[in-house]
C-alpha cells in the first residue's frame, strides 16, 4: 500500500504527541524485540489454552501449563513483560478474532451460538487472552510517565478486566431457575408447565427445568396475591360493503361468505350454522383472504364475534356483522409475596413487578411471566371438548380461574464485581475526557 505524503504528516504529528512507536537510540534492534514479543505472547497463550481445552484430566493442569507458568511468573517482575503484552496490536488481533466469532455465531441463532461459540473453550481462551493484555496495558499505563491520560487509561483498562472477572465468577457459580410448583396445564402448554404459582401456593425449591428434582432454598416463598392489569381493547365492526377498517396495524374487510361459486354477500338461511365468512386481513398493503367459520371466536390473535339481525326474514340473510377485537395484552402484573425462613415470616407483603425484583438472602426474584392454567386433576376431569384453546379460554373466564405468576430466581455472586467494573469504567471515561488534551493543544493548527 502506498502512502500519500499527507498520511505521513498525520503520522508524524501523531508520534510527536504520543511519542510511541518511533524507536529510541538505545532500544534493541527490531528483530530482537520481535522475538521477545513472540516469547511473551506465546508463553501467556500456553498458560491459558490448555487449562480450557478438553483435556483427559479436567481440573488438573497439564505439565506444559506448569512449565509455562514457571517461565511466566518471574517475568511478571520485569517491565518489559508488561510492555510487550500490552501491545495495542494484542487488542486488535484478539478483539478482531472475538468480533468475527460473535458475528458468525449470531447468524446461527442465539441458542446455537451460546452453546458453540460464546461458551466454547476456544472463545474463552481468546477472551482470557484479551483480558490478560488489557490488564497488562492497565499496569503499563500506571507506570508510564509523561502521559496526561495515563491514570484514567489505567483505570479504564483495569475496569474492563474487572467486568470480565465478574462475568467469569458468575460463569462458575451462578444459580438460575424458577420455583418448583405443582404442574399446571392449558391447551397451549403441552407438556404441563412448572413454575407457575397460584395465589396461596408456596415453594422452597429451585429447579432449572421441569424434570429437575430441585434444590432446597434457604427460604420459602408464598404467593399472597397476583394481579394482572390489561390494556383497553379497541374493536371494529365489519359489514359487507362497509370497506376495510383498521385495527392495531392491520386492516380488516368483510367480503361476504364463501360458496361454491365464489364469494357471495348474502347467507342462505339454511346454512347459517355452517357458513364461512371471507375476511381479508392486510398489513402494509399486503392482504390475505381468510375463510372463517361463523362459529369461530378467534382470528389469529384477534377475538371475533359473529352477529346477525334477529328481525331479518327470508331465505337470505344480508344484515350481519363481524366484530373484531384486539388481543388482550397485559399492561402490568404484580406479585405480592411473603418470605418465610424457619417457619417465621421475615418479609410480609413484598411486591415484585417487572423491572422491580426482590432481594432475598443473596437471591434475586424477578417477575418473569404469567399464565392461566388449571391443575392436572382439573384437566383430567375436564370434558374433552373444553381442551381446545378457544373453549378453554371461555372455561377460564366463566369459572373465574385466577392467573398464575411465574417468578424467576437468580443468584449471581459476580454481579457486584461486574457493577463495580461498570462504575470504574464510567468514572474512567469521564476522567479520560476531562484530562485529554483538546485538539487545539494537541497539535496546533
Amino acid at each position: 500500500m502506498k502512502h500519500s505524503p499527507d498520511s505521513e504528516v498525520e503520522y508524524r504529528r501523531y508520534n510527536k504527541h504520543y511519542g510511541q512507536p518511533e524507536r529510541r537510540k538505545n532500544q534493541a534492534p527490531r528483530s530482537c524485540s520481535r522475538k521477545a514479543d513472540a516469547f511473551v505472547h506465546l508463553s501467556c497463550f500456553r498458560v491459558f489454552s490448555p487449562s480450557f481445552g478438553r483435556s483427559k484430566n479436567p481440573g488438573r493442569p497439564r505439565l506444559f501449563t506448569l512449565v509455562s507458568l514457571i517461565f511466566i511468573l518471574p517475568q511478571l517482575f520485569f517491565p518489559y513483560f508488561w510492555t510487550r503484552l500490552a501491545r495495542p496490536s494484542a487488542a486488535v488481533v484478539t478483539g478482531s478474532l472475538a468480533a468475527v466469532a460473535c458475528a458468525v455465531g449470531s447468524l446461527f441463532g442465539q441458542d446455537f451460538a451460546i452453546a458453540n461459540v460464546y461458551t466454547a473453550p476456544w472463545f474463552i481462551v481468546i477472551m482470557f487472552y484479551f483480558n490478560a493484555a488489557c490488564f497488562a496495558a492497565a499496569v503499563r499505563f500506571l507506570f508510564k510517565s509523561g502521559k496526561r491520560t495515563r491514570l484514567a487509561l489505567a483505570v479504564l483498562h483495569l475496569s474492563f478486566v474487572v467486568v470480565c472477572v465478574g462475568v467469569a465468577i458468575d460463569g462458575f457459580t451462578q444459580v438460575r431457575g424458577y420455583f418448583k410448583t405443582s404442574l399446571k396445564v392449558s391447551p397451549d402448554t403441552m407438556p404441563p408447565a412448572m413454575g407457575y404459582l397460584q395465589e396461596g401456593e408456596s415453594s422452597s425449591e429451585l429447579v432449572v427445568s421441569r424434570n429437575d428434582p430441585g434444590t432446597e432454598l434457604p427460604f420459602t416463598l408464598q404467593l399472597v396475591s397476583f394481579t394482572v392489569d390489561y390494556f383497553e381493547r379497541d374493536s371494529v365492526t365489519l359489514r359487507v360493503g362497509g370497506g376495510a377498517k383498521k385495527l392495531a396495524g392491520f386492516s380488516f374487510e368483510l367480503k361476504g361468505i364463501i360458496t361454491d361459486d365464489g364469494v357471495e354477500p348474502d347467507i342462505p338461511t339454511s346454512s347459517l350454522e355452517t357458513a364461512r365468512l371471507a375476511v381479508e386481513v392486510s398489513r402494509n398493503g399486503k392482504g390475505e383472504l381468510y375463510y372463517v367459520p361463523v362459529t369461530e371466536t378467534a382470528l389469529g390473535e384477534f377475538d371475533i364475534a359473529f352477529d346477525l339481525n334477529p328481525d331479518e326474514e327470508g331465505d337470505l340473510v344480508s344484515d350481519y356483522t363481524l366484530t373484531v377485537t384486539e388481543p388482550l395484552r397485559a399492561s402490568k402484573y404484580t406479585s405480592v409475596v411473603n418470605i418465610i425462613v424457619d417457619g417465621e415470616t421475615v418479609t410480609e407483603g413484598a411486591k415484585i413487578e417487572v423491572n422491580q425484583p426482590l432481594n432475598v438472602m443473596g437471591y434475586r426474584i424477578y417477575q418473569s411471566g404469567w399464565g392461566r392454567f388449571v391443575t392436572m386433576e382439573e384437566w383430567d376431569t375436564m370434558p374433552g371438548n373444553l381442551r381446545s384453546p378457544g373453549l378453554f379460554a371461555q372455561y377460564l373466564e366463566t369459572n373465574d380461574i385466577p392467573p398464575t405468576s411465574f417468578l424467576m430466581i437468580a443468584r449471581t455472586p459476580g454481579r457486584n464485581v461486574v457493577y463495580a467494573g461498570y462504575l470504574l469504567m464510567f468514572l474512567a471515561l469521564i476522567a479520560f475526557f476531562a484530562v485529554r488534551p483538546s485538539s487545539a493543544q494537541e497539535g496546533g493548527r
Binding site: 499527507d6 487488542a91 397485559a330 434475586r364 464510567f426 475526557f433
Partner: protein, 263 residues
C-alpha cells in the same frame, strides 16, 4: 423531537471538544435527515410490554446508543474522506464505499416508497432488504464515477493542510462514539438485569452492539500499531457503521430474540 436534540447536542459537543465548525453543520444535517427518516419506521407501540415501560435505564440505554450510532455515522463519513487521501487504492475503495453508502440510503428510501405507495408488494422484509443491499452495490458502482469526478474537481483527493485536522476529527468522534456505546451497553445491561435477571444474555441485538464497540475499539488501538495500522484504522469505523446498520435492519428482521419486539 429526539433527532433535533441529537443534532443540537452533537454540535455542542463538537464546538466544545474540537473547536471545529466546518464539519458540524454538514454532518449534523445529513445524520439528522437519516435518523429522522429511520425514526419514522418505528411506529409508537400502543401496547408496550411491561418490561419496556418507563425505566430510567432503558431510556438512557436507547438514548446513549442512538447518540453513539450518530457518532459512528459521522465518524464514518469523515473517515471515508480521510481514506480518500491515502494513496490510489485507498482512494478508490473509499470513494466506492461512499457511493455505496449513498446509493444504499437512496435504495432503502425508494424501496419503502414503492412498498408504502402500494406499487410493489415485497414478500418479506428480508426480501426488500435484499433489494436495498443490491441497490447499494449496483447503484454505488453506477454513481461512483460521478462522485469520483466531483470529488477530484472539489480537490478532496489532493493534499491539504486540513488533513491532520480531519484525522483528529475522526479520532475524537470515534473516541466519543466508543464512550457513548460503552455507556449505552452498560445501561442496557443494568436494565436487562432488572427486567430479566441477567446483565448479559447474548441476545443478537446485544451482540451486534458489542460488535460496534469492538469496531471502535479496534480503530483506536489500530491507530497505535505502526504506520500500516494507522493508515488502515479508519476502515474499522466503516465496519462499525455496517454493524450499526445491520443492528437496525438485519437483527430486527433476519435474526430473532428478546429485542425484536418491534417486528
Amino acid at each position: 423531537m429526539l433527532t433535533a436534540n441529537l443534532l443540537v447536542l452533537w454540535n455542542l459537543v463538537q464546538t466544545l471538544v474540537h473547536r471545529m465548525a466546518f464539519l458540524g453543520p454538514l454532518s449534523g444535517f445529513v445524520s439528522g435527515l437519516l435518523f429522522a427518516w429511520a425514526g419514522s419506521f418505528g411506529t409508537v407501540e400502543k401496547h408496550t410490554v411491561p418490561a419496556l415501560q418507563n425505566s430510567f435505564w432503558l431510556t438512557s440505554h436507547v438514548f446513549l446508543c442512538m447518540l453513539a450510532y450518530v457518532a459512528v455515522f459521522i465518524a464514518t463519513v469523515a473517515a471515508l474522506f480521510l481514506l480518500m487521501r491515502r494513496g490510489q487504492r485507498s482512494r478508490m475503495a473509499a470513494t466506492f464505499t461512499f457511493s455505496a453508502l449513498a446509493a444504499g440510503t437512496l435504495s432503502v428510501v425508494v424501496v419503502q416508497l414503492l412498498q408504502f405507495g402500494g406499487i410493489v408488494a415485497f414478500e418479506s422484509v428480508s426480501e426488500s432488504g435484499m433489494y436495498s443491499v443490491a441497490g447499494a452495490f449496483v447503484g454505488g458502482s453506477l454513481i461512483m464515477p460521478l462522485f469520483y469526478y466531483g470529488f477530484s474537481r472539489l480537490g478532496l483527493y489532493g493534499s491539504s493542510s486540513r488533513d491532520t485536522m480531519l484525522e483528529r476529527f475522526v479520532h475524537t468522534t470515534a473516541l466519543i462514539g466508543l464512550a457513548l456505546i460503552t455507556l449505552g451497553i452498560i445501561t442496557g445491561s443494568v436494565w436487562g438485569d432488572l427486567a430479566w435477571g441477567r446483565y448479559w444474555g447474548w441476545d443478537p441485538k446485544e451482540v451486534w452492539a458489542l460488535l460496534t464497540w469492538f469496531a471502535l475499539l479496534i480503530y483506536i488501538h489500530l491507530r497505535s500499531c505502526g504506520k500500516r495500522g494507522f493508515d488502515l484504522a479508519p476502515w474499522a469505523i466503516v465496519i462499525g457503521l455496517i454493524t450499526v446498520v445491520f443492528n437496525y435492519f438485519g437483527v430486527n428482521f433476519v435474526l430473532t430474540g428478546l429485542h425484536t419486539y418491534a417486528g
